[in-house]
């Protein structure tokens, strides 16, 4: 008689073999592009089902995480950043360039002088954890309008002051998310300036996407028509390095 132990071990082994078979097929080029196609399909379905301005849920102050954990880089390593930090970001300047009619250089004071938006939203990490925090910042749409974004621009790229292994962090979004009312460059978090761990002095909030899109330490906003020529061309640091999806709303 087959013992229960053998049966369970047999089931585990066969499922393991079947899974590794799947894995091998999944690693072929054809299967990879087939699997990838689901992300494009979801992007199309989501964009057609939701209205452009559909808002991510907002919460009350009572629903906020008591402690909002940090993730990714929590202290950029460059001497330049250290100098800005020592000066309390007094001369931090956000460059806005690329496919815009009038490139801008905005100081923190310039940004704070513009109309601001405050929102209590949830941070959805790709790993599965969630934290709720209050963000205050300048709507990206206002900045792009002021720079007179050109009609041929299709993506907005965020260049950051931090790096991993010498590759600067960057992220990008389409124009729908760039002009979304909740998309802000945040300088305030939980009623205080954004801390270094959370991306001081400026952090992108693009609330309908996952955590890795929320670029920290933003120093330059660039309007482009293609993402191909930036680093490895996939539109973001983690997209380039470990193949996370560019459209991170799932």
């Amino acid at each position: 008689m087959i013992s229960r132990r053998t049966l369970i071990a047999g089931a585990a082994t066969s499922s393991g073999l079947l899974l590794s078979g799947c894995e091998r097929i999944g690693n072929t080029k054809a299967a990879t592009s087939l699997l990838d196609s689901a992300n494009d399909f979801t992007y199309t379905v989501q964009r057609s089902l939701e209205s452009r301005g559909a808002l991510a849920p907002e919460f009350t102050a009572a629903q906020m995480s008591p402690n909002f954990r940090t993730n990714g880089n929590t202290m950029p390593g460059s001497p330049d950043y250290a100098r800005h930090l020592a000066a309390n970001f007094a001369d931090w300047a956000l460059r806005v360039d690329g496919l815009v009619a009038s490139p801008l250089t905005l100081s923190m004071a310039d940004l704070k002088a513009m109309p601001a938006r405050t929102q209590i939203t949830q941070h959805n990490c790709v790993e599965g954890w969630t934290a709720i925090g209050k963000w205050q910042g300048t709507p990206l749409g206002l900045i792009l309008k002021r720079a007179q974004i050109l009609p041929q621009a299709r993506f907005i790229v965020f260049h950051c002051a931090d790096d991993f292994w010498g590759h600067n962090y960057y992220e990008s979004v389409d124009l729908i998310d760039a002009f979304h009312p909740q998309t802000i460059l945040a300088w305030g978090m939980n009623d205080a300036p954004v801390t270094v761990g959370h991306g001081a002095p400026l952090r992108l909030r693009v609330e309908r996407q996952l955590g890795y899109k929320q670029a920290k330490y933003v120093m330059r906003v660039e309007a482009v028509d293609s993402l191909k020529s930036i680093q490895r061309g996939k539109g973001g640091f983690w997209e380039d390095q470990i193949d996370y999806e560019w459209y991170a709303a799932i």
Binding site: E50, A56, I250
Partner: protein, 291 residues
């Protein structure tokens, strides 16, 4: 449903519709991939919380912890279970490589598998639901009748199952009440719950349909319900496979491939008890004391 008096044990009859057979095998593969890739995604943060939020500062109600090369433990509420060499062990955060897709830590790949097959779960499920309403599979074959729902009847079926006594003859053509309830539970309960909790984890879908977050009480809760739903589906599959083996695996699997099912002979024991009796009489000493 009335039992057809024309049918008898031993008859080869049509059992499963084409739509049921197609959906069954597609789903068998889809759910296999969904569970494997889902467990890999879980490994990225092997902790579950209740509420709107939940991260490392919060106390999870379930966590799998890696305690070194061959030690790990699972904690559910106040209960801790040592899971050495199975969960949270070696280089695996929580679930071991033989249970995950891919077999090593690869969140990007696991998510691609998961979200491709999510569509393979959702679209055929919708198609099957609509087909099964139109061809009256749900109303005719899955919906329990009032008599079947009587506690006495359900209890009787549970006792019969426990004794491994399954319906024979024409009665075997119809689902019994335990089958009806579990199949309906999966079709109309678990699968939609998995789809909706899955959507609640996605910031894009929650923006499109904010009621999702309200329905499950937040993303952290939805993730917990998603995991519990997965566990129930795995439990269903284990029991389902066990019942297939007990009821006669060849006949059962054939009926799900060709649709043809041989009705068990009236009064015959079902497959495994039958096998045991046959083996006993083959190998047992000639003189068996009467008990």
């Amino acid at each position: 449903m009335a039992i057809n008096p024309e049918l008898h044990g031993g008859d080869l009859v049509k059992r499963h519709r084409l739509s049921t057979r197609l959906w069954h095998w597609l789903n068998a593969f889809t759910i296999f991939v969904m569970v494997g890739s889902g467990l890999m995604i879980f490994n990225a943060h092997p902790r579950l919380y209740w509420g709107q939020y939940g991260a490392n500062y919060e106390t999870p109600w379930l966590e799998i912890h890696n305690d070194g090369p061959s030690h790990g433990h699972l904690r559910v509420g106040p209960m801790t279970i040592q899971t050495d060499n199975v969960l949270g062990t070696g280089r695996f955060e929580a679930f071991p490589g033989w249970a995950t897709l891919p077999g090593g830590y690869d969140l990007a790949k696991a998510r691609r598998w998961h979200f491709f097959f999510a569509w393979m779960l959702v679209l055929p499920w919708l198609a099957y639901l609509i087909t099964s309403l139109f061809n009256r599979h749900i109303q005719g074959e899955l919906a329990p009748t009032g008599d079947e729902l009587a506690p006495k009847h359900i209890l009787h079926d549970i006792v019969e199952h426990a004794k491994l006594r399954f319906p024979t003859g024409a009665a075997a053509l119809h689902h019994n009440i335990l089958q009806k309830l579990s199949y309906l539970g999966v079709l109309l309960g678990l699968i939609p719950a998995m789809i909706l909790t899955g959507l609640t984890l996605s910031p894009g879908w929650v923006a499109a349909w904010p009621w999702l977050n309200v329905l499950f009480g937040g993303r952290a809760s939805a993730r917990s319900v998603h995991f519990i739903g997965m566990s129930l589906i795995v439990g269903f599959i284990v029991v389902h496979l066990l019942m297939v083996v007990l009821a006669g695996p060849i006949n059962e699997i054939r009926s799900m491939i060709t649709g043809k099912f041989r009705l068990p002979e009236e009064g015959s024991p079902s497959f495994v008890p039958g096998l045991i009796i046959a083996l006993r009489s083959r190998f047992a000493p000639a003189k068996e004391p009467h008990l």
